[in-house]
């Protein structure tokens, strides 16, 4: 029997189709239902459903609850850690084009993230800011200001 995780306000309910089958509930028209459980009466109104994203908002006895459904696939994927994003480590940074080094912004030992500006390279009469395309720590900077570099030449080595 497949189990579903339903999360409302950070509270998780684990339910199976069998649990639902035993619920005493009758439709009373217009997206409304009436349920009885342990002699307690519940007036239910369906406010919103998005089956593609498995989210719903249901009102019970006047208060609305927003929920997210996770089926066995969602649970499995969550366990596999596929929903967390990973980092992107790089080994070196090479000159993307031939040109002249005008300015060196980065420093040895600096921790880089994708997009961190490193070097200003003049090429095609344009000043291009070379940025990091990944993460890592700078081990060495192999060029100096006013050096001419070729395309693909090693500029920065990472640890």
């Amino acid at each position: 029997m497949t189990n579903y995780d339903i999360t409302i306000d950070k509270e998780k309910f684990i339910l199976s189709p069998k649990d639902i089958a035993s619920l005493d509930i009758v439709p009373i028209g217009n997206r409304q239902f009436h349920a009885l459980r342990c002699n307690r009466s519940y007036k239910i109104k369906i406010l919103n459903t998005d089956f593609t994203n498995k989210t719903m908002t249901i009102e019970v006895n006047g208060i609305s609850y927003a929920m997210v459904l996770a089926d066995e696939y969602d649970q499995m994927v969550h366990k596999m850690g596929l929903l967390t994003s990973k980092t992107h480590k790089i080994n070196s940074i090479k000159a993307p084009m031939p040109g002249l080094i005008i300015d060196i912004i980065a420093t040895i030992g600096q921790k880089l993230e994708a997009g961190t500006p490193l070097i200003v390279l003049s090429a095609m009469k344009m000043e291009n800011i070379i940025t990091s395309h990944g993460e890592g720590i700078i081990k060495s900077i192999n060029v100096e200001v006013n050096d001419a570099v070729d395309k693909g030449q090693l500029i920065i080595e990472m640890e």
């Binding site: 089956f51 593609t52 498995k54 696939y73 499995m76 994927v77 596999m80 850690g81 596929l82 929903l83 994003s85 990973k86 993307p96 084009m97 031939p98 090429a123 095609m124 009469k125 344009m126 000043e127 291009n128 800011i129 395309h133 395309k151």
Partner: protein, 513 residues
């Protein structure tokens, strides 16, 4: 009847396990999903109808007769993505390593044929060790049957290939011929010849990841258009991509509802720096022009000096080709021409209008470029844009020099509407270079050549470094205020909605390949 039903249910349950629970767990331990799990996340819940669940291979050689698995290593069928019909196949790595046999290929061909009959996109989730050696030539034949169908379908229905595991040898040609390729980082790789053979032949020691991993193909070869961190991200990229495309070449992409406002974008005034030598990120301009939904960039890490991708303009799906001043000053070169040309032709195949944003100082000089055929490759982009009959609109934001001006969707090659910003410079070349040539005698004979050059440069710039020569001749339809760009473009594309243009009758052109 009851027994028959039970027998069927048993068979289907067995088929769903593919190569068995243990192999499923191995797949999971590598961070990969199984074929059926991938299909579950790709298609709308409950919409998948599987075809050929119980197909088995027919090989008896090499003891294969004793190893029978239902499905034969590929799950095929149809379903919906956001309510749109699609056909799909997903190779099952747990069965014979997802290797391709005669029957495996038959299943794929069947679903491709179905897609062609009814005019719906075909999505392939590749995860295969390659040809099933035991099948010998029959496996090679299977691949070729698929290739031929890829070609027949090319330009008729969108074909998308996701590489979610190995894809080596001949197998790589199918994705190569499909419209878009996606690769999952660290768990997929593509190459014609693997590292082992490479080592013995060329003596290069290289890992699979380095030789043909996702990042390699995303940055160096441009074979893959997208990379994803994991299977799920890859799948959501496919879904997003499909959203911009029509079902087939007879349709236009479905527009999203959009309610119009003033559509004025003040920010466009301030993106281009005062200093003409300072670059800016063309994507900032793109973001201000398009709707709130993000720009769907394609080939992000390849040939970064040109930007291509899909976006929405007042809900309408459009393709954008734009020079990127941030990289190589936005020049055109071999790779960027190829990247933009293929994208342009794809949009033309599938009735997706094109918006071209221009800030190009020319072509990249150098032996590297010349000896790698910047001539014929640059021509690819020129050809593709000329040939396209979808609505084509151009906006020149800053520079448009020399031949590159012609290439970047100029009026002369068939653009429908051409706009330029007031700071645009449409000229043969930059003021400095031009002055050095034209006024050479004056400069050389002057007391202070440097100052003279500067003087002449200013003179030239005033006369030619602007959009007005072009505007005077109607090469530019209108010089527009930057903050009005979005307004103008929405109007422009609405105007061109029903554009019909025919090329002279021919079997097909001969684009320089």
């Amino acid at each position: 009847m009851k027994e028959n039903i039970k027998a069927l249910e048993d068979k289907i349950a067995k088929a769903k396990l593919g190569g068995g629970q243990k192999r499923i767990e191995t797949q999971h331990s590598k961070g990969k999903l199984t074929a059926r799990e991938r299909i579950h996340f790709l298609l709308d819940e409950g919409s998948f109808e599987e075809l050929g669940t119980l197909v088995t291979h027919r090989t008896k050689d090499f003891g294969m007769g004793k190893q029978i698995f239902y499905g034969d290593g590929v799950v095929t069928g149809y379903g919906t993505i956001a309510g749109r019909q699609v056909c799909v196949f997903a190779q099952d790595f747990t069965v014979f390593g997802g290797s391709l046999s005669e029957t495996h290929a038959e299943k794929i061909c069947k679903v491709m044929d179905m897609a062609m009959k009814i005019g719906v996109p075909i999505i392939g989730l590749n995860d295969s060790g390659g040809a099933r050696i035991q099948e010998g030539v029959r496996s090679l034949g299977g691949y070729a049957d698929i290739f031929h169908r890829n070609v027949k379908a090319s330009g008729v229905i969108p074909q998308i290939s996701a590489i979610m595991g190995p894809c080596a040898g001949g197998a790589v040609y199918s994705p190569a011929m499909t419209d878009f390729t996606l690769m999952v980082e660290n768990s997929s790789y593509m190459f014609v010849t693997g590292p082992n053979v490479v080592k013995t032949v060329t003596n290069e020691a290289v890992s699979s990841e380095e030789l043909g991993g996702a990042m390699t193909h995303a940055t160096k070869s441009g074979v893959t258009h997208f990379t994803a961190e994991n299977d799920l991200e890859c799948i959501s990229q496919i879904k997003e991509l499909i959203g911009f495309l029509p079902q087939n070449c007879e349709e236009v992409p479905k527009p999203l509802p959009y309610s119009l406002n003033t559509e004025i974008r003040e920010k466009l005034e301030t993106i281009i720096p005062e200093n003409a030598n300072q670059p800016y990120d063309m994507r900032h301009i793109i973001n201000e022009i398009i709707d709130e939904s993000p720009f769907f960039e394609i080939h992000k890490h390849y040939a970064e000096n040109i930007v291509v991708g899909f976006a929405r303009l007042a809900g309408k799906s459009i393709g954008i080709v734009a020079n990127q001043p941030l990289s190589l000053a936005g020049v055109l070169d071999v790779n960027s021409s190829k990247k933009a040309a293929r994208f342009t032709r794809f949009c033309d195949c599938f009735n997706i209008p094109l918006l071209v944003l221009v800030d190009v100082p020319g072509f990249l000089p150098g032996t590297d470029q010349e000896w790698n055929g910047i001539i014929t490759n640059g021509a690819k982009l020129l050809y593709a844009l000329s040939e396209a009959t979808v609505p084509k609109v151009t906006v020149i934001t800053r520079k448009a020099y020399g031949g590159a001006y012609d290439v970047m969707n100029s009026k002369h090659i068939g653009a429908d509407l051409n706009y330029a910003w007031p700071g645009a410079e449409i000229a043969v070349m930059g003021a400095k270079g031009a002055s050095e040539i034209i006024f050479k005698k004056e400069i050389d004979s002057a007391e202070d050549p440097e100052a003279k050059l500067k003087e002449k440069e200013e003179e030239y710039a005033e006369k030619f470094a602007n959009p007005y020569s072009a505007a005077e001749r109607g090469f530019i339809d209108e010089v527009i205020l930057p903050y009005n760009t979005r307004r103008k473009l929405i109007s422009a594309f609405a105007l061109l909605e029903n554009k019909v243009v025919h090329l002279p009758k021919k079997k097909h052109g001969n684009i320089p390949l």
